[in-house]
Structures are given as structure tokens and as C-alpha cells.
Subunit: 160 residues, 2 copies
């Protein structure tokens, strides 16, 4: 992650994509969200979803997985160029999470984060607050997931 001062409202981070297999969907749901339409094809066909689909929690944590990988990758790239890497504080929550469409077996979800607000912290002079809209879009261009999250990002240290 770059310093807070280098981040512009409107810029987007392309985090990568994930294709949800039946095995993947059922393994997550069996552990955390064992509703019939997430763990059993026949029951899912009888449900209002019409077919096996991923737990919404599964589609959300996959954003997290790709976000952590993205940060690691971009930090390594910056270090390899001899550039500093700004610290990013863990998020303390998020808001307005929406599951907009079901994610079915074989769907490929493309995840991104778009900066929608930046502001200075009232309490901490060393950091700024970056608010992003996280999203996932399927192979047909349909949004399936959206939420808003705010994180602390280190400000550029003052030159002595």
C-alpha cells in the first residue's frame, strides 16, 4: 500500500478473481453455513435459488483472501523497487454489506476495491482514513457482493 497522500478517490484495486466449484461451496457451507441450498444439490433445486449456490459469507471472505494477497504482492513489488511500504491498520468493521445475486457453481467472481473517500484522522496525526467500496462481479457483469469498509493508512513521514 502507498502512503495515504498517494491514494486518490476513484482509483480501484483489481484484486483478482475466484471460480466457485461445487466442492468449494459445499466444504465452506458444511463448516459455517449448512443451509440446504449451500450443501445439497437436490435440496438446492427445490429451493427458491433453483441450484446449489455459495454462502454469502463465503463470497465475502473470498474478497478478504484476495485483498490480503493483493496487499502482500504490491508490498513485495514496492520493496523490490526499493520503495517504502505504508502500514495499513486492520479494519474495525464494515457497513452496508449486500448480497445482490446468488453465486452458483462455476461462477467466476471478479473482486475489486474502489476508493470512495479519503480524510484525515481527527485523533491520529500519523494516519489517514481510506474508505473503499468492496465489490464482486460475476462473469456476466452482474454485481453479486458489495460492502463499504474504512481502514487507517499511514501518512507520508515528514522529511527531517
Amino acid at each position: 500500500m502507498r502512503y495515504f497522500e498517494d491514494i486518490q478517490v476513484g482509483e480501484a484495486f483489481a484484486l483478482g478473481s475466484h471460480t466457485f466449484s461445487a466442492e468449494d461451496i459445499k466444504a465452506f457451507a458444511a463448516r459455517f453455513d449448512p443451509q440446504p441450498f449451500h450443501v445439497d444439490e437436490a435440496a438446492a433445486e427445490q429451493s427458491h435459488f433453483g441450484a446449489l449456490c455459495a454462502s454469502g459469507w463465503h463470497t465475502a471472505v473470498t474478497w478478504m483472501r484476495l485483498m490480503v494477497a493483493y496487499r502482500r504482492r504490491t508490498a513485495e513489488e514496492a520493496r523490490s523497487r526499493g520503495e517504502p511500504v505504508a502500514r495499513v491498520g486492520p479494519a474495525v468493521g464494515f457497513r452496508d454489506l449486500k448480497w445482490l445475486k446468488p453465486v452458483y457453481v462455476g461462477d467466476t467472481i471478479d473482486y475489486r476495491s474502489e476508493v470512495i473517500e479519503t480524510r484525515l484522522s481527527n485523533s491520529r496525526p500519523d494516519v489517514g482514513l481510506m474508505t473503499i467500496r468492496a465489490s464482486g462481479v460475476n462473469q456476466n457483469g452482474e454485481p453479486v457482493l458489495s460492502f463499504i469498509s474504512t481502514a487507517f493508512v499511514q501518512r507520508r513521514p515528514e522529511q527531517p
Copy 2:
């Protein structure tokens, strides 16, 4: 779940508790949130958390797991008494998720859902909307997780 008409604002569902082991914390985080303070004790000691702690996503999906088990259990109990079981629609999202305190190795989190609002649906006469505050509280009585979720609950069928 009982019918919409039987649900009162202020009532709470005790979903049960979960104790987070180091193995449990690291297995979830390795898969979905591999930040150093969730997967490595030594790195966690050097972080601002001071010790290994669970991914916030892990503490949230554990609420979901216990909620699904609670619904299944109470539905079976109702059926065994010969009572009807109202349908509950899947949530389409949630809001204001807050990770209020870290969840460390050995912490036992008690989960509950409290009904904070009920209202009729404008578009569907057969269901009502139940809004709950989901929460998790640790063994010291400190809230660690909170979010707000709204679900459709079947209304009592009219007697012919």
C-alpha cells in the same frame, strides 16, 4: 422460527458459545485471512494485538454457524410438539458490522440475536421483516462483535 406475529421486539435468541483454539484460529486464517497476527504466534506478539487472535471474519461466520444450528434445533423441537414452523428467508445482507475487541486464543464467545424491529413488508403480504442485532460477548462480558441484519419471516396463515 415462530410466525412473524409471534415475534416481539426485545426478545433475544441465545445461540450458544464457541471457544476459539489456536488451531481453529490459524486454520481459518490460513485459508481466508492470512495476516501475520492471525496465523503466527511470534508475529502476533510483535503486532499491536500482542498475541494470536482470530480473524474478524472467523468470529462473524461462527455467529452464522450457531444461528443455522439454532434454527434447525428449534424447528425440530416445534415439529416434535406438532407445531408449525414458519419459513425464514435468507438475509440479503447486513449493516454496521463492528469488531469491538480482539478474540484471543482460549476466549469463549457467547453469541445471541436480539430483535430490535419488526415491520410488515410493503411488497409481500405473506411475510414480515424482522431486524436483529447479532452480537458476540467474551467470557469477561466484553462485546467483541455486533452487526444488524434483516430477514423475511413468514406471517401466520389466515384461518379459512
